[in-house]
């Protein structure tokens, strides 16, 4: 392979498949870009954030303590007059009115820990030599998105990323599906933890308790089949009944509720007392399993459904190739999905081997978070403080672990390239460059970040800039750096 062609492939591997090139990386892998990618598609090579983090169980205990404090403080006798709603809403609602400092303090403590976990993950993305594995894991996170704007999710959001997503990212889809849907973060985010079967022992005793169909619907619509996957409202309700009992232990509830409960990993508990008994019928199939196994059987069936493979193949192509990927690429991925039994490492290899992925033209517009990550990588840096990172992400429209809905972050340029969004990127690029640039040559940085993808126009605009910070801001905002 001619030298330039090899370096172009290296640049594509690092920027399109990976999270961006750090100085020196393009030259380092130009000898064998595909080999570099293939070597990452192994379960044991998935990057894990550095440091020791509390387990999901420990964090749930902290959450329970926080909730106990809130109940204590918000008890009518202590609460300030009528102005204080029992359940103040998110966002800009009632200022801090009626929220005692003690509650604020413990909420802050919960969130600071989550912020550190997000920062560790972000630092990993900015520094890892396995950028493809990192992007792959992040793709799956977004496929199964959760959001910490529901505060109960925040304590277990770090564990969700590490234990449900990263741990399974090159394993079997079926296993990742079970790990995700049984993780407390998902059970809390989509209201599953408190869903009660109407004919369960608890449902019979407490008439006001009952089903919540949120998780059932989103599993069908977002995590597996897709909205056009052929299920009906009746299927959603049946699935919601099967899911009852998939929950967590709540320290503030009477222990007898948990008689016969089966504990799972990361704080999951199957609670028989709230499980709807009986056979379920979903999309023409009967599920006669008892207890928590019923949902396992349904998830297994959903994972194997052809509609799930089609949806995953399409989403992968949209994320890695372009907003309008060629049918040939989607078919290739779908075929690998079927052929290799929904093994995600095989799926990754099929993506690497797809010729469509190696076309020179960059067609994907970076989302804000990956733009910022690649900006740190281009300069060989990593953010050090959440207090600085989070405001930037908020301004850019992609706050930490808080997508607008269970659908996750949008993946199309149309959602991210609004005029205001481009202005916000420019603002960040200028501030970051002023703080970050030391004595590197901007042209050398541009070469190492983009390799042969760097255009003559951008190279000369970088060279013409009057100072280093200005030059780097132009590099980061250049059309080729904004895309991959």
């Amino acid at each position: 392979m001619p030298q330039d062609q090899a370096r172009l492939q290296g640049a594509i591997a690092l920027t399109r498949f990976g999270m961006g090139a750090r100085p020196g990386e393009i030259d380092a892998i130009a000898g064998d870009p595909k080999g570099w990618l293939r070597a990452q598609a192994l379960p044991q090579r998935i990057p894990r954030p550095a440091g020791e983090f509390p387990s999901a169980q420990d964090r749930l205990t902290a959450l329970g303590e926080y909730r106990r404090q809130v109940q204590e403080i918000m008890r009518p006798a202590n609460a300030p007059a009528a102005a204080a709603p029992m359940a103040p809403a998110p966002a800009m609602a009632a200022d801090d009115n009626g929220i005692p400092a003690a509650v604020r303090q413990s909420a802050r403590a919960l969130l600071i820990q989550t912020g550190q976990e997000y920062l560790a993950s972000f630092q990993l993305a900015a520094t890892t030599p396995n950028g493809f594995a990192e992007r792959w894991a992040r793709f799956w996170w977004n496929h199964f998105a959760i959001g910490i704007s529901k505060i109960v999710v925040a304590p277990v959001a770090g564990s969700f990323e590490r234990d449900a997503i990263r741990a399974h990212a090159f394993g079997r889809f079926d296993e990742m599906l079970v790990a995700v849907e049984s993780h407390p973060a998902m059970l809390l985010y989509l209201d599953q933890a408190q869903s009660v079967g109407p004919n369960s022992p608890v449902g019979q005793r407490r008439r006001e308790a009952g089903l919540n169909e949120n998780l059932a619907r989103e599993i069908l619509e977002l995590h597996t089949l897709g909205a056009d996957g052929g299920y009906t409202q009746a299927d959603v309700t049946e699935f919601a009944k099967a899911l009852t009992g998939w929950s967590i232990r709540q320290p503030n509830l009477p222990p007898r509720l948990y008689t016969g409960a089966i504990d799972g990993p990361h704080g999951f508990a199957f609670v028989p007392a709230i499980h709807e008994p009986g056979t379920r019928r979903i999309m023409g199939r009967s599920y006669q399993q008892r207890g928590g196994d019923q949902t396992l059987a349904i998830l297994s069936e959903l994972a194997a459904h052809p509609a799930t493979g089609r949806k995953v193949a399409r989403q992968l192509a949209v994320h890695f190739h372009s907003d309008t990927p060629p049918a040939s690429l989607i078919e290739r991925l779908e075929a690998a999905w079927v052929r290799d039994g929904r093994r995600l490492d095989s799926l990754a290899l099929a993506l690497i081997d797809a010729p469509e992925m190696w076309e020179a033209e960059p067609r994907k517009f970076k989302r804000p978070e990956e733009f910022v990550i690649s900006g740190y990588r281009a300069l060989g840096l990593a953010p050090q403080r959440m207090e600085q990172l989070q405001p930037a992400l908020v301004a850019l429209g992609q706050p930490a672990w808080a997508p607008p809905s269970p659908e996750g972050w949008p993946d199309e340029a149309a959602a991210w390239a609004a005029p205001d969004a481009v202005i916000k990127r420019l603002t960040w690029a200028q501030r970051y460059s002023e703080l970050a640039v030391r004595d590197q040559s901007p042209v050398a940085l541009a070469e190492s970040a983009l390799g042969p993808r760097l255009t003559d126009q951008t190279r000369s605009a970088v060279r013409r800039a009057e100072d280093r910070a200005e030059a780097v801001a132009i590099l980061l905002m250049s059309p080729e750096f904004q895309r991959r």
Binding site: N214, V422, Q457, I474
Partner: protein, 399 residues
Amino acid sequence: MSTPLSPARLALTRRLWLAGAAGVALTAHGRMAWGATQSDRPKLVVIIARGAMDGLSVVVPHGDRDYVAKRGVVAIKPPGEADGALPLDADFGLHPAMTRLHGLAVAGQARFAPAVAIPARLRSHFDAQDVLESGSARLYGADDGWLNRALSVSGGSRGLAVGTQTPLILRGPVQAASWSPGGPTRTDDRVTSALMDLYANDALLGPALTAGLEVEVEAAMATDGLELRRNNVEGLGEAVARFMIAEDGPDVVTLSLDGYDTHARQGAAQGVLANQLRIQDRVIGGLRDGLGETWGRTVIIVATEFGRTVRANGTGGTDHGTGSALILAGGALKSGGLVGDWPGLSDGALFEGRDLAPTADIRSVFKGVLRDHMGLDRTALDTVVFPDSGEVAGYAGLV
């Protein structure tokens, strides 16, 4: 399970985290040549309440004898009782958190459609929002937004979106500008001019940067003297209003409000939903205050993708439903009663036995406003703005 596990979504904590990006994702929009001079051009604000706003808690049918029985813990009490609805007429009231809107209703400047829906029966937020915003009768029927197409047939004009993401309703042939609070950038420096050169042939970034820079200049005026902290909802409404009343300012604005997906602990007069409605009420109030005399030429529409189940679910919330309420406000409105019929909440009246049955296609309201307020002609409305919608007549008598 006496205490539902997923509890209070605390205002303050979310703000700590997101620096307040939460409840309000704003989108405002467009300068349009509607064939009138700035001093008398009509103004339109479209607010999308994302997540499926529970219309039965907004426009409260307290006169319907099934209401309290079916709604249970999420029912709003009738007017006159403590925490009761604010009275609209003999049978309907407004959620008690929406005091500004109620004042407008009393003055004949707010009206309500109690049971409208998009034309497709979908219970996916994302699919239903696509239909709501694309203006098509079916999913994937159009890949741009009806408000953008309304701009395009109005005679070629400029748009403004406030928010970091462009919502589908504003995507399309007309380049919509956008703005969100977050500090000015230096728009005249060398970096900007270098980028304008680099973007010369970039169909995505070139027009976006140009539009963004123009808006930054206006934003400096629009936000002058306003303290735009992220939780200052009225201030945001006022800033958007100042864009609209500026010389050559936008005539069409859209805002997105989120947080309406109340599956658990929805609450009634207080609670998760009440707080979201209070935010909405404050945004409308801020717009009203900021628009000044332009208010008399303004219509605000609040629409959502679908409603929520009539019966509360087992976790003190409501699940995805069908019909929901639509809100109209503005000094340009004709006073009048409810927009569209009330289907009732008896068992036999419900859609699929669980949802409020829609009595009107939401597009009929949009069309009525675009025709009678913005002056779009019927052919354009039936073919371009809302493709193949000739059978859906624009609602008459709103403006």
